[in-house]
Chain length 377, copies 2
C-alpha cells in the first residue's frame, strides 16, 4: 500500500472520523482508524459500539489532484496518534507506505514516522444495507429535528428504548418523538422519496443522533437515510454515518398528549425563557428544580423559593385565555423546550394544574413539547 | 443598606471577584461574596484560603453615575447564585435593599429577588499591609514573568516551597525563579520605585500567580506590589489582589545553573518546538515522555521511539558549535519552555549528555530555562 495525499484533505476527513473512534480499549482494534487506498482515493473508517463513520477522500477535488494512489491496500492505525500526527505533520504533501507487516512509514518534508498498524482483516466490516427503506431529507431539517427532540431522551442507559428517539414515517411525513416520561418532544417534517415506505418502530440512540448532528454541522445539502433491521445509515456525498438501533417496542405516546386546552397562554419565547432561567437560580439546587407559574389576566407570575436561599417573583406579559391557573414544574424541562423552539412566540395549553401541558410554536403545527407538572404542597 | 447600580458595572466587578470565591464549603462564609456600599461606591470581596480579590465600583465612571448609595452598609451573599443573578437580571439599573437581618431584596424591572445573606462581621477582614516594601511593575511585564515561570513549579502540594515562584528583588531588578527539580525557569525584569528595598525569600504560590495573570488579562497599566510577612498584594486602580506566601526557605538554585557550554545550538524556536511536539506524539504515552536529540554539523536530529507504537526521526536546521552530542530529555519540559520564550531564535548550551542544559533567547539576557536530561539505556 502506497499513496500520497494533500495534508489539508486528510486533516478534514480524519477530524470527522475521529468522532467515532473508540476511546475504550475493550476491543483494541476499534481504538484504531482504518485507512483504505483504492481506485477512488482514500476511505477512512472509525467505529465504536454505537456508531461507525466512513469518510471518502476522492482522488480529485475541484479538478485538483489530492490523492495519488501508487499501490492499493488497507491498514488500521492507532486512532488517537494518527489523528494528532496528521494535524501536526509539516509540509503540504504526505507520503504513506505500508508494508506487509502493516508497519506504516509516513514521510513529510524532513520528518519520517514509523507506526505499527493492525491487520485490517480484524476490523469489522461495514454492514451492507438494502436501499428498500430509504428517504431523503435536507441536513438542516434533520439537524433541527434532532435539536428539538434529542434533549428529551432519558439519559440513564437502564431506561432502554427511552434513551432513543423514535422515527416514524408515514405518507411522506417523518415524525420524531423523544420522552423520558417526565416530558416529551414531538417534531414533524416532510421528507422526499418516501411516499411508498412506512417506518413505525425505528429507535435511534439519542447519543448517536447528537454525534450525527455534530458531523453534519457544516453541511447544508441533502442526507439520504437508509433504515435496515438493526442499523440506520445517514449518507451524504463522501460520508457514511451508521448507528445501531435500539431493540424493543417504543411506547404509544399519543394517548398522553391532551387534545384540548382549558387555559391558554401566548407569550414571547425569549421573555418566558429568561424569566424561568432567573427563577431557576433559586430553585436549581433543590431536588426537582420546581418553579411555579400563576396565570392571570394579561400576565404570568413566575415564582420560586428555596428555604435556605431565598425567593424570586417576576411578571411576564402574556395573553391568557380561559380560567386562572397555578401550576408547578421542573424549570430545566421548560428551559430546554423553550430553547429548542424555533418561533419567537409560543402557545401553552393547560388542562389543569395536575395534568400534562403542551408548548407549541404559535405559527406552526409540526412541533410539540409536553411537560408533566409537579405536585407541590 | 440601600443602593442602585448600573448592571454592566456590577457584572464586570463580580466576574473578577468570583475567581476568588471559595467553592469548597469547609468555611461556609467564604462561599459568599461581600458587598459593601460606602462613600466611594461599592466594594466587592471574594476570598478562599489562598487568595482574596477586592474590586471597587466607583460612584462615577467617565462622569457618568453608575452607583447611587442611599444608605451605607454591607452584607455577604451566596457567591455562586449572586454572580449568576447579577448576569441574568433584566434591565439596566438594579436596586438593592438589605435589612438588619441581612435579607437582600433585589429589584430590576418586573423581577424581585429575596436572598438570605450572612452577617459581614463573620467575613475575614482584609490584611492591612505596610507599604514599606512596595515596588511598581507594568502589568504586561508581570504577566510575562508569570507566563515564563509559572509552568515550571511543582504541582504536588507535598513539594512545599517548590509549588511557588521565588520573587527576589535587588538593586531595582526583580528575579523570578521556579523549579520542580527536573527543570528550572528564571526571568528578570527592571521594576520602579524599588532601588532602596530588597526581597530575598518571597515565595508566591504558582496557582495564585496564574489567577493573578487571569485577573490582569485585559489590564495594561501599572501594578503596585506590596510584600508583607506572609502576604503579597498586587494593586491597580480599583483592584486589590492578595495572595498568601509560602513558608520555608527556597533552595539556592544558582549552583545548579552551568556557567559555560561546550556544545551550543542556535535555531528557530518555532521549528524546534514543532519537531519536539511531533516526536512527543510517539513518546508521550511512555513514563518519562523521552525524546533524543543528536547534534551534528548544521542540524539537530530528533528521535523518539516506543516499543508498541513506532518511531519518528526528523531533522531541524540549526547552527551547531562545539563537539557532537546526543542527549535525551522530557519532551513536555522542552515544549513548555519553548512555548513560553518570547524570541524567534534560541540558543541552547550543553555541557555534556548527563548534565543540565540551558535554553536562552538569543537576543536577551533576562531569561533562562534549564532542563535536567534523562539517562537512557
Amino acid at each position: 500500500m502506497k499513496f500520497r495525499v494533500a495534508k489539508t484533505a486528510l486533516v478534514d476527513a480524519v477530524s470527522q472520523v475521529s468522532k467515532a473512534v473508540s476511546s475504550k480499549t475493550t476491543i483494541p482494534i476499534l481504538t484504531g482508524m482504518k485507512i483504505q487506498a483504492d481506485e477512488e482515493g482514500l476511505a477512512l473508517t472509525g467505529s465504536n459500539s454505537d456508531i461507525t463513520i466512513q469518510v471518502r477522500v476522492p482522488k480529485k477535488k475541484d479538478d485538483l489532484e489530492q490523492v495519488f494512489v501508487e499501490k492499493m491496500g488497507s491498514v488500521v492505525l492507532p486512532g488517537r496518534i494518527f489523528a494528532d500526527l496528521v494535524r501536526k505533520l509539516p509540509g503540504d504533501q504526505v507520503e504513506w507506505l505500508v508494508n506487509e507487516k502493516f508497519q506504516a512509514t509516513i514521510r513529510s518534508e524532513t520528518a519520517e514516522f514509523h507506526l505499527n498498524g493492525f491487520d485490517p482483516v480484524e476490523y469489522p466490516r461495514l454492514p451492507h444495507l438494502s436501499t428498500d427503506q430509504m428517504f431523503s431529507i435536507s441536513a438542516d431539517t434533520l439537524k433541527s429535528l434532532i435539536r428539538q427532540t434529542g434533549f428529551a431522551v432519558a439519559t440513564n442507559e437502564a431506561r432502554g428504548v427511552l434513551t432513543g428517539v423514535l422515527f416514524q414515517l408515514e405518507r411522506g411525513v417523518l415524525t420524531c418523538v423523544a420522552t423520558d416520561s417526565h416530558r416529551l418532544s414531538k417534531q414533524q417534517a416532510s421528507v422526499e422519496g418516501s411516499e411508498d415506505i412506512s417506518l413505525s418502530n425505528v429507535i435511534v440512540p439519542g447519543k448517536s443522533l447528537s454525534e450525527l448532528a455534530k458531523t453534519l454541522a457544516d453541511y447544508t445539502g441533502v442526507v439520504d437515510i437508509i433504515v435496515a433491521e438493526n442499523q440506520l445509515l445517514a449518507k451524504t456525498d463522501g460520508l457514511e454515518f451508521y448507528s445501531r438501533l435500539l431493540e424493543g417496542m417504543y411506547p404509544d405516546t399519543n394517548r398522553v398528549i391532551p387534545q384540548n386546552g382549558e387555559t391558554e397562554l401566548i407569550s414571547s419565547t425569549k421573555e418566558l425563557l429568561q424569566s424561568v432561567d432567573r427563577a431557576s437560580l433559586i430553585s436549581r439546587d433543590g431536588r426537582d428544580n420546581v418553579i411555579k407559574w400563576t396565570l392571570r389576566d394579561g400576565k404570568v407570575e413566575v415564582n420560586s423559593a428555596a428555604q435556605d436561599i431565598g425567593s424570586v417573583t417576576e411578571e411576564v406579559v402574556a395573553k391568557v385565555n380561559g380560567p386562572e391557573l397555578s401550576i408547578s414544574f421542573n424549570a430545566r424541562y421548560m428551559m430546554e423546550a423553550l430553547r429548542s423552539i424555533e418561533s419567537d412566540e409560543i402557545r401553552i395549553q393547560f388542562t389543569g394544574p395536575m395534568t400534562p401541558f403542551l408548548i407549541l410554536p404559535t405559527a406552526r403545527e409540526d412541533s410539540l413539547h409536553l411537560i408533566v407538572p409537579i405536585r407541590t404542597r
